[in-house]
Amino acid sequence: MSTPFQTDVAIVGAGPIGLFAVFELGLLDLKAHLVDILDRPGGQCTELYPEKPIYDIPGLPIVTGQELTNKLLEQIKPFKAEYHFNEMAAALEKTPDGKWKLVTDAGTEIIAPVVVIAAGGGSFVPKRPPVPNIETFENKGDGVGVHYAVRKMETFRGKNILIAGGGDSALDWTINLAPIAKSLTLVHHRDGFRAAQHSVNQMRELERNGKVKFHVASVKQLHGENGALTGATLAGADKVEWRHDTDAFLPFFGLTIKLGPIAEFGLNLHENLIPVDTAKFESATPGIFAIGDINSYPGKLKLILSGFHEAALMAQAAFHICRPTEKLRFQYTTSSSSLQKKLGVTA
């Protein structure tokens, strides 16, 4: 299969609610494609608290974010959803035959009669340090300027590199880029790191060998004409500032949630949420549904269990749009042999 994909339902967001939507749709024989900006399923559950316990999932007295995601993936496996990871839902447009076309920033196109926004708070994007005009140094080409991720290590060969941060990404890239960089400087606000101990040990070894310079400092300003980065002003713990020459600046402070292009989908957002009715969880735009943390309605509770309920009702309504001439047969998984067959559990 290749783009444009034709399916029944395009789901924006592969968090717990987007995943469970696959299940509810699947019971009704509706196929789904999921788009997520992260590189794996689970959304906030796996990005923010994979190891933290959740206590309010019905029937699961204690489950971690990662475990819940794993169980949902197991539950929806029979329905063979298509996943598009590392892609952000960028645009939504109506097709001439009345369907929707969802386009991602990677150019993937998914055409479906129903679109479900299950995007939580929006897209996870890198945190951008509050350094004046930092955005003018972004997207200036391979190996130079400001980068929030390393796509190709080779592009940084022979460069002077400045890395900021104290987590695993900051340390991993310090260790990986130091051997090929002309110089590598790491700055962090304290002489301690949340990164894995073996990474910290490796970094300290590189520092002893003169391959890495480490300062307890922060980046206050960036310098360069027309977006061509030449250096940064660093400030130490004692507030003393100095100029540091560099070709590239790589800040690694993890991810934060920004609403992103969903704001431009024409869904009449109210305080960054999509108003829906509580019978179908459909937005004011027919065929576009919103479930989970991204929607709003009187009495809304931002709980995973509420999102599961919303997914079930959404699926019923989606069926009527996707299969307008068919009769929806309401069945229970406990007693229906046809549902059990779909789930692959018949003897």
Binding site: L48, Y49, G167, R190, G192, R194, S218, T256
Partner: protein
């Protein structure tokens, strides 16, 4: 107890704290721009505040988990804390915090 909070534009507001609630919850419910993406699990660093005017020293010290999580916060200063880890109590009446840049 009262919390004196300064937002990112420098405007100061006094909000009423509630015993046992976290400062993050009070700031968020008062409509101040605290993202608190993880909901108070010490897992995101988006409720970062600076604790001012000697109040930092009056707080019980941050846990190892909070110190680690502050590594993911932006523009960390010596008086940085995660507001989801500060619990309102009478002895903190008048505490001054400034919401950190995002």
């Amino acid at each position: 107890m009262k919390i004196i909070a300064t937002d990112r534009k420098g405007a100061e507001r006094t909000v009423e704290g509630r015993d046992g609630w976290t400062v993050m919850e009070i700031l968020r419910d008062a409509g101040l721009p605290v993202a608190a993406e993880c909901g108070g699990a010490c897992a995101c660093a988006t409720c970062h505040v600076y604790v001012n005017d000697g109040w930092y020293e009056k707080l019980s010290p941050p846990s190892d988990a909070e110190v680690d999580m502050l590594d993911m916060a932006l523009a960390v200063e010596p008086n940085s804390r995660l507001s989801c880890q500060i619990v309102c109590a009478d002895e903190l009446d008048g505490i001054k915090v400034t919401i950190a840049p995002e």
